[in-house]
Amino acid sequence: MGNGTELGRVRGLGSAKSGVHHWWMQRVTAVANVALLLWFVISLVRLPGLDHASVLLWLRQPVAAVPMLLLIASVFWHLRLGFQVFIEDYVHDEGAKLLALLALNFYALAGAAAGVFAVLKIALGA
């Protein structure tokens, strides 16, 4: 703290560039993941069975579908932020780093989209 702008210093944000936002969102999604994943694991254990019919019956309820959508968003966001740091720490070749970051972003976004689509298809019935 103390090297940033006057406003940044007042708010205790340091230089307050995007690194702070990255760090903060990693923590926000981490806290959300704790709640959502514990809910997910406990829900699966409490289901009468994990066969197709039981899973569909469960995911058709809004109280299951909505947390599942939040879980997908939070988990894929969190893994994108976390693995970005991993790549930046260990991949030093600029070209390989760019490709790895590109692949990570595609994986995170495509994975989240596929998961959201699956939940909506089940929840909204088809």
Binding site: R27, A30, V31, N33, V34, L37, V41, V45, R46, G49, L50, D51, H52, V55, L56, L59, V75, F76, L79, G82, F83, F86, Y107, G111, A114, G115, F117, A118, V119, K121, I122
Partner: protein, 134 residues
């Protein structure tokens, strides 16, 4: 000058030269488990969800693999990975507040993460086996 140099100098952190400690192990394993969850966990989660959305035939394929010996083994492994990452993540959040950096405290919280992850994995599978059987 060179003769006075201490023989055991601190070395820069790197996997191959680091001295193994609970505190460094919990940190390295946090990254390893995070990576395993991001890709292994993520892909298996999507397979389960997309199979459920695709219909009974696609789900039957997932279900038979998941309940087979490889599926159970991966399930147990992945649940340990999940609890290990969860607990070391909670330790990170606690340390983000500026607390827990004393040598003794950091070591005991690291040991607690390892012990807790194994304990929670065992409890989860006892719950699964007692409610669902194999």
């Amino acid at each position: 000058m060179a003769a006075n140099r201490p023989t055991a100098r601190p070395i820069s952190p790197h996997l191959s030269v680091f001295k193994w400690r609970f505190t460094m192990a919990v940190s390295i394993i946090h990254r390893a488990t995070g990576t395993a969850l991001a890709f292994g966990g993520g892909v298996l989660f999507l397979w389960w969800l997309l199979a459920a959305a695709s219909g009974p035939d696609a789900y039957a394929v997932f279900y038979s693999v998941a309940r087979g010996p490889i599926g159970i083994l991966v399930g147990v492994g992945l649940s340990w990975v999940f609890f290990q990452h969860l607990l070391s993540g909670l330790r990170h959040l606690y340390m983000d507040t500026g607390a827990g950096y004393g040598l003794a405290e950091a070591r005991s919280s690291a040991v607690a993460v390892f012990a807790g992850a194994v304990l929670l994995t065992v409890l989860l599978w006892v719950a699964i086996l007692s409610t669902k059987g194999l």
